[in-house]
């Protein structure tokens, strides 16, 4: 219990928050890293996933890229980039590593979401004479929205947690509080840093849940669906990993059967 009170003392003393290298600055760095990398990852992954899902090609790629992504240690990518010619550009290497880390879950969830959009509805839309673009924008996208947002959410939470690794490779962010505490045998500071990261992850998750509720194109309407919205959208109780794992499981099983 001593660690908890000590960590609380660390978090509540103002001196730890201000100045260069204070928690305030680290929190800001962490947020900037997260927003920048998620922004880039979403811009890169979602259009590709939506196009692949719309034309129904590249399923093996879109599904297996998650498994490959999991196999590549982010720490190794960070160090490799730090030693590359990009190394001197500091935070750029961190952002690249985080973008590479976030793309696979985004791609897989968006692809699966689009493919799971009720095919009958899509066929009906085609039969009504909608163009491919209209089908994507007005039928598939609204139906796939929950799963796409689940992917965005779990990827963001993982990016928040993983951005701490940047500190090992000399980058900024909340990880610096943890490594600094580790180097001075200050367990309270390590726990405080961990609590900050977890709190940030939970806040970000909450904001994204709210955001996805507000921007849901089918807000106030019921989604026609096989098996109901809940099972397609993945469990809503989890932060991060569990949701990703479960959403990624089903396609893997089907992929194995093929």
């Amino acid at each position: 219990m001593g660690t908890f009170t000590a960590a609380w003392d660390w978090l509540t003393s103002g001196a730890n928050w201000t100045g260069a290298g204070g928690a305030g600055q680290r929190l800001g760095e962490h947020l900037v890293l997260t927003v920048l990398s998620m922004g880039c990852a979403v811009l890169l992954a979602l259009p590709l996933a939506l196009w692949l899902g719309h034309v129904g090609r590249g399923g093996t790629l879109a599904i297996n890229v998650s498994n490959v992504g999991r196999a590549v240690p982010t720490f190794a990518v960070l160090v490799l980039l730090a030693l590359s010619p990009l190394g001197p550009y500091g935070e750029l290497t961190t952002v690249i590593a985080l973008v590479l880390f976030a793309i696979p879950p985004l791609l897989t969830n968006a692809y699966v979401g689009l493919r799971e959009a009720d095919r009958d509805v899509v066929e009906a839309a085609r039969g009504m004479g909608m163009s491919g673009w209209q089908v994507l924008r007005r039928v598939e996208l609204p139906l796939a929205f929950p799963l796409i947002m689940t992917g965005v959410r779990s990827a963001t939470v993982q990016v928040v947690a993983t951005a701490t690794l940047a500190a090992l490779a000399g980058g900024g962010g909340l990880g610096r509080i943890i490594t600094a505490g580790f180097n001075t045998y200050d367990t309270a500071q390590v726990a405080a840093g961990a609590a900050l990261v977890a709190a940030l992850a939970l806040v970000v998750e909450g904001v994204l849940v709210l955001l996805s509720k507000l921007t849901d194109p089918m807000r106030g309407r019921t989604r026609p669906g096989r098996g109901g919205g809940a099972s397609t959208a993945g469990p809503s109780d989890g932060a991060g990993a569990g949701t990703d794992g479960e959403a990624a499981d089903r396609p893997r099983k089907t992929a194995d059967a093929v």
Partner: protein, 229 residues
């Protein structure tokens, strides 16, 4: 002479490095595998009772799932640093951290597997006089194998990848080589260790897939029959 120079020139790819440090690489690989495999096995041992508890006793499922999910939001760096005072400077720190991470995926998947067992099947088994334990090992376990193995594969690949972060406490297997290579700007060491790490994860995944297929021969028959029909 030409092969010597790649160490001096600090090239990314260097056969001479692999040759001259093969012992070091092998040791790191073995440590890496040892840590990852033992943590997934321990994770399974822990996840089973937890999932069963959550399944049999609905009141427990919320706390169990919540706790294992919260564990996952603790950054790995902090997890190892926080477990250090508990276990001292040893590989146990890394194993304990990875066990806690693996619980998230394993508990969820075991629970999903248990829930996927059709009620009819369970009732038939009970009607045939199966006891609680026979039901679990004779009926539920085989039927939940696909979900279980999917979880084990994710947990194993993640564990192999996360073991590298154990370098912060000096027990990261190949991560140690990546970490020291970063400090000494030794490119060949960083790239070789990273590549072995990815290769380990991919081969472990494939190996587990083969095991899964061998354990569930009926799934393949059914898939083929489904496609034909």
């Amino acid at each position: 002479m030409a092969s010597r120079s790649c160490l001096a020139a600090n090239d990314w790819i260097c056969a001479e490095y692999v040759r001259s440090r093969s012992g070091e690489l092998a040791d790191a690989t073995l440590q890496h595998l040892g840590i990852a495999v033992s943590s997934v096995l321990l994770g399974l041992l822990l996840a089973f009772p937890l999932a069963l508890l959550a399944y049999r006793w609905k009141a427990a499922s919320g706390p169990v799932l919540g706790l294992t999910t919260v564990l996952y939001t603790v950054p790995s760096l902090a997890m190892f640093a926080l477990l250090l005072p508990v276990f001292g400077l040893s590989a146990a720190v890394v194993v304990a951290g990875l066990v806690l991470y693996s619980l998230t995926v394993l508990v969820r998947n075991i629970l999903a597997g248990l829930e996927s067992v059709p009620r009819d099947v369970r009732e038939v088994a009970q009607g045939m006089g199966y006891g609680q334990r026979q039901l679990l090992f004779g009926v539920e376990l085989p039927l939940m194998l696909p979900a279980l193995m999917a979880g084990v594969r994710i947990a194993m690949v993640s564990a192999i990848s996360l073991t590298t972060v154990g370098a912060i406490v000096g027990h990261g297997g190949l991560g140690n080589l990546i970490y020291s290579g970063m400090d000494s700007l030794f490119k060949a060491q960083v790239l070789t260790a990273s590549a072995i790490c990815v290769a380990l994860a991919v081969s472990a995944d494939l190996l587990l897939l083969v095991v899964q297929r061998a354990l569930t021969p009926w799934a393949r028959h059914r898939a083929r029959a489904g496609k034909a029909g």
